[in-house]
Amino acid sequence: MADVALQPRTARRPIREASRWDLIKANRNYLGFWFMLPAMVFLVLFLAYPLGLGIWISFTDARIGRPGAFVGLENYEWLWGDSIFWLSVFNTLLYTSVASVIKFAIGLYLALLLNENMPFKAMLRALVLIPFIVPTVLSALAFWWIFDSQFSIISWSLKQMGLITDNINFLGDVTWARICVIFANIWRGVPFVAITLLAGLQTVSPSLYEAATLDGATSWQRFRFITYPLLTPIIAVVMTFSVLFTFTDFQLIWAMTRGGPVNATHLMATLSYQRAIIGGVLGEGAAISNAMIPFLLAAIMVSWFGLQRRKWQQGENND
């Protein structure tokens, strides 16, 4: 029966050996190369080339409008003795560490809160994102007004309540200025941490919490022994990004204080911009920028080791 139905109507073609071109066409590496090419071109043009150029310029005495000659490590030697540079390093480390720790704490708290069942959950989750979607410069300008020496709404409110008699010079005082820019950075950075950690929390199976509840765990113990260990990979990723973004922050500072008062809020990024673009000393500015690289590499190394697959994540995945 079957052989009647399957009788070939035409003679079969002889089997042909695959040609070289056929093999190349079917080669996954060849195809993969073409898929990768656009991204590679993009990265080389806009990342590798500027980075290489920046490193080269830092070894020259280039100024705006003048190519400059190779001067070796002179720019770096000059920076080594520059107290303003070292102040900016201190500021950057302070800014990054304080802001990151607080962002992590508030972000984790918000994530845990938003992971609970509560009314208007979807709306609250969306609201948390607002600081993140407002353009940085806009929110910086808003903070600039909020912390204005004459028209600050905070000073005005405190005066109305009779708590202070004179305006607080938020952005004119060294300590206040640092607190203000850190506050603005936290306000802006918390949503990223909160939403990412929330996404991580939702991958934890509810039955683990139920099992832990039956095992006798209190809510603190459930966090300590279940949530936190299972969240560590996500925490490593989100905090690496948070630290990188904070360390290289520019917009917020530039819009609020321009590094003032007396360089108290100058970060390495803003100082580099000021020296290179405003001051025109490209070589020195580039050197300041490059000085950030070791710190950033260190942050990446920390997360690299933090992200190493833990022993419990290894092994076959057949669930």
């Binding site: 199976s205 509840t213 039956l214 299972l230 419990w312 092994g315």
Partner: protein
Amino acid sequence: MSSVQIRDVRKSFGNFEVLHGVSIPIEDGEFVVLVGPSGCGKSTLLRMLAGLENITSGTISIGDKVVNNVQPKERDIAMVFQNYALYPHMTVADNMGFSLKLRGAKPEEISNGVKRAAEILALTPLLERYPRQLSGGQRQRVAMGRAIVRDPQVFLFDEPLSNLDAKLRVAMRTEIKELHQRLRTTTVYVTHDQIEAMTMADKIVVMHDGIVEQMGTPLELYDTPANQFVAGFIGSPAMNFLKGKVKSNGSAGFEGPNGVKLPLMSAPANSEGKPAVYGVRPEHFTIADDGAEAEIVVVEPTGSETQVFAKLGGEQVVAVFRERHQFNPGDKIRLKPDPALVHLFDETTGKRLNA
């Protein structure tokens, strides 16, 4: 170990009631299986027993104590979840010892407890592994080990075998039953698989749409199902149902679809001419000259027995024979139900009519 009393328990989610007054007495050391199709409320009831869901009304007591308002961890119960719920970042030993650790037990106390449970379940060589490195059956055993370590009053199992392959499921079934025979801990086991229920239970509770349809030993449920639902749910292949009416012509009898004559041992009182449903299990058909004529549709041999699908009075029925007949599709055979083993149900209420 202790008894469990479930008295008139109801559960609503919002305005939607999923359990409509369920009462189940469970004796000390008994192995009770809650079985029913999905959505019947069996898992909800188990979770209420565990304290993971609150009780809308009615009471649940463990031992002499009503536990409606007792925290899960104070109820002294252990639960095995369908997905095992093993902590992925802890070794097998840590998983099993977690409850003792939370209780503040001393390290040697924990390791002794874990060791004892690991020996019972043959898990000793796996104690330092992580759940990811275990096979499905091993994970299942770890989940049971975690329950055993606690030495609880009551074990709760929530469909523990449904993630395993067929062969392993049969093996674990035996293992769980053997474990219960050894430990004699009161056990409540939820499943949708009636074979699991039949093979493991001391007492089966058949649930359907939030009520208890019938409660009893496996063989009681098989021999005298209280209604058509239980009759159809227990037994595999399922019982055949033929609609018709009681029609005694001298001796008791039943007129099936298209006037097929079927035997009855005795007609229930005042049932003459009444519409009813005639139930006969596939294994209670015999081939006999005075049987009703049926045309074979499909023959499925399984080796130990042969399932025959046939048209009887236009309705498809299934019969199971242990002896080997030479059947072919289209053959005419004469099927006779064993009158002592047939069931009669009310057509509208589904209630059992014969004794």
